[in-house]
Symmetry: C2
Subunit: 120 residues, 2 copies
């Protein structure tokens, strides 16, 4: 499943903050966690995650600290802050508004034809 970039952009911040709200994690593990949670249907690139984490840190939504794995590899651990939790709640509310609106058009509209039907 290919997710359009604008939808990735819209969900990236709430997803990262939501994952971190469940417990501290490091970058690479967040990448794997997104794959898990979506059943493999979402596959983020690290090229979008790391800049996002830096941005969230600059905004004060997360804090970071360097650590080391048992294997001796360096890891940068991220934790959500109080500001981050507030931002998460705000994003959640926004998402609900948009999701409610979209549900209305999808319910009222005749069922969209599937790709298979169009190409049949």
């Amino acid at each position: 499943m290919r997710i359009d970039k604008d939808l990735v952009a819209a969900s990236a911040t709430p997803l990262v903050l939501g994952i971190l709200a469940d417990g501290d994690l490091y970058g690479y593990a967040i990448l794997k966690r997104v794959g898990e949670l979506s059943g493999g249907r979402m596959q983020w690139t690290d090229g979008m995650l790391y800049p996002l984490l830096h941005r969230l840190e600059r905004l004060g939504h997360v804090s970071s600290s360097w650590g080391t794995s048992e294997a001796g590899r360096r890891r940068k651990h991220y934790a959500i802050t109080a500001t981050g939790r507030a931002a998460l709640a705000d994003r959640h509310a926004q998402w609900s508004v948009v999701a409610d609106t979209l549900r209305q058009v999808w319910e009222s509209a005749p069922r969209p034809a599937t790709v298979a039907e169009v190409w049949a």
Copy 2:
């Protein structure tokens, strides 16, 4: 309610296509319809809608034709195409994937204890 621009970007295409799937409409009316459907919580600017409509037309997802209102004002009517319906179905599927994933993190995240739980 202020909706972040990335969430606007993610929902704009499916919303317009969904609205047009329910019946032909002209640009300005789409703007008003979004406000209605969202209970006034979403307020699009025309500066984002018109370029979006032109883009959707260029992609073949909608078609347009000039008309005139009873009052004599010129209006550009838009209609969804078969390709547009396919794109809508695709966006709908993508949205579901992301929404399912987000629901998981929001459910798993710790939340304040309810009064009932505190007294249990």
